[in-house]
């Protein structure tokens, strides 16, 4: 299943947030959206998954999601969004309880995703007992449990410290290599974008328009940390964003 965003614009009252955004997310591809803070990249992601409605234009699914996908468009949130009164296991079972799978199938699914995210021994831990990285792993496991067709990730690593970020980054790459998933990954961190993206969309400051699209041909598994090729792309991206970030930084927040 592919996703296509056609001519999407959004206004909050009179404030133009996003302007004629068109882009495609192909099956098996990771599309990264980068941009200065306040450019509407998170809003765009919320629209892609139907959590917010654009003023005009829309998001279209091309083709059917795989038959075994319980929730084709699945989010991974920056703040994890785990229920504090449920254990890791309970947080994952939450999203399966409404599907008529049968207790055995539910258990197998949860065990499988816990194993894939290396959380098996933390199944009975409450979120408050887990570190930030572990919490996000639980959220990733929860997302994988519903067999998503497209993963929508809203700065999933931004609430974590830099070491944990590196570790989870490796996990993402390992997961993708094990089974190529489709994803739209919003971040302000260019290193993340360069390490994960097949395609990097650079948004401008408000009103957000697509400033540039950068494609990276190096396969994700072969991307070496700090290879000159990637660094060059990252610098290029930074050049594009620098001015925007500078003026975005000097903007009053409450316009």
């Amino acid at each position: 299943m592919d996703l296509e965003i056609r001519n999407l614009s959004h206004k909050y009252n009179d404030l133009e947030v996003l302007k004629s955004i068109s882009l495609e997310i192909r099956s098996g591809q990771i599309v990264c959206i980068v941009g200065p803070s306040g450019c509407g990249k998170s809003t765009l992601l919320r629209m892609i998954g139907g959590l917010e409605e654009p003023t005009s234009g829309g998001v279209y699914q091309i083709g059917d999601p795989p038959a075994d996908s319980l929730n084709p468009l699945t989010y991974i949130f920056q703040d994890f969004a785990l229920l504090p009164w449920r254990t890791a296991w309970g947080n994952i079972s939450l999203v399966l309880e409404e599907h008529k799978l049968g207790a055995q199938a539910v258990r197998e699914r949860i065990e499988n995703v816990l194993e894939r995210t290396r959380l098996t021994e933390f199944a009975n831990a409450y979120p408050r007992q887990l570190s930030g990285g572990m919490k996000q792993r639980v959220a990733i496991a929860r997302a994988l449990a519903v067999n998503p067709a497209v993963l929508l990730m809203d700065e999933p690593l931004s609430a974590l410290d830099s070491q944990t970020r590196e570790l989870l980054m490796d996990d993402f790459i390992a997961l993708w290599q094990r089974e190529a998933f489709t994803a739209c990954y919003v971040t302000h961190n260019l290193a993340e974008a360069v390490a994960l993206g097949h395609k990097i969309i650079v948004l401008s400051r408000r009103p957000g328009v697509i400033r540039n699209v950068v494609e990276i041909s190096v396969p994700i598994g072969e991307r070496q940390h700090g290879s000159p090729e990637l660094i060059e792309i990252q610098d290029q991206l930074w050049e594009m964003m620098r001015e925007e970030a500078l003026s975005a930084d000097r903007e009053l927040a409450d316009v």
Binding site: D79, A81, W85
Partner: protein, 279 residues
């Protein structure tokens, strides 16, 4: 060790003429710690002083009877079988009134918290009725429901209803939006989101509201029983006052204190159980 430690020592000793002072610890205090024995000791000392004061005639018996007389009054109450009669009458009113008030309060609070129309319709009404001291409505309830159990239960019901409504919709309003969004993003049904996300989120606030409404209920119970009841702890206290028998009066007050403590203990137990994920 201790290449590093060694080097650090060197650094300290290099200039021997400097005076060496240890950094003074100044981070203590301001954190009360549990001291288990103090409370019972204070209690015992107070009772002993009271008993001695009464025995030596420093406290006139009509003002305050000695603790032993109060204990005697309690014993009489138990032996005559009147204790159970008073207590059961009070508990019956309290349990029915409080339970119904809380249930209705939860339902109305959920309506207000979750849906726009009930919210627009009911919130101003609640805001208008909540500040009325419910005891002022007792005469009206007596006219409506009679001097018997009806008016007393209704007063307690009313008194526990409003704090529960307010606590419930307040708790629902404070639910983390991102958790609701998460539920929606996984296509959970509306009912699932209410039951599995909103209700548990609001539970701490609801239990807090129950603590308040329970103490209000006890106040209203006693007040209602003082206005017109044959049995009940409030009636017992009032009668003792009319007869100037302060020993019975104090015994009744002690019963009320115990009742209040038990209720608050039960709510603590509920918190401990339902909010165990918070610890």
């Amino acid at each position: 060790m201790s290449d590093l430690a060694q080097r650090r020592d060197d650094a300290v000793t290099t200039s021997p003429e400097d005076e060496i002072r240890k950094v003074r610890y100044r981070g203590g205090g301001f954190s009360p710690k549990p001291r288990a024995l103090i409370a019972p000791i204070v209690f015992l000392v107070l009772v002993v002083i009271w008993e001695l004061g009464s025995n030596f005639g420093l406290i006139p018996p009509i003002v305050l009877p000695s603790p032993s007389e109060v204990v005697q009054a309690l014993k009489d109450l138990i032996q005559s079988g009147l204790l159970w009669k008073h207590l059961s009458a009070s508990l019956y009113r309290l349990i029915i009134g409080f339970t119904c008030g809380t249930m209705l309060g939860l339902a109305v609070g959920a309506l207000i918290g979750l849906w726009s129309y009930p919210r627009a319709a009911l919130r101003p009404l609640v805001a208008a009725i909540f500040p009325i001291p419910k005891i002022a409505l007792l005469p009206l309830f007596i006219i409506w429901f009679g001097i018997g159990e009806g008016s007393k239960v209704a007063t307690i019901l009313f008194g526990s209803f409003f704090p529960t409504v307010i606590a419930t919709y307040g708790g629902i309003e404070a639910v983390d939006r991102s958790l609701i969004n998460m539920g929606q993003s996984f296509n959970l049904s509306r009912w699932s989101i209410i039951r599995k996300i909103i209700f548990p989120s609001a539970l701490p606030a609801i239990l807090n509201g129950m603590r308040i409404s329970a103490s209000i209920s006890i106040i209203l119970l006693v007040a209602a029983e003082m206005i017109g009841a044959e049995y009940g702890i409030g009636a017992y206290v009032l009668l003792a006052g009319n007869l100037m028998s302060t020993d019975q009066l104090i015994a009744g007050v002690i019963l009320l204190s115990i009742l209040g403590l038990i209720v608050s203990y039960l709510i603590s137990l509920a918190e401990l159980y339902f909010l165990r994920w918070r610890r």
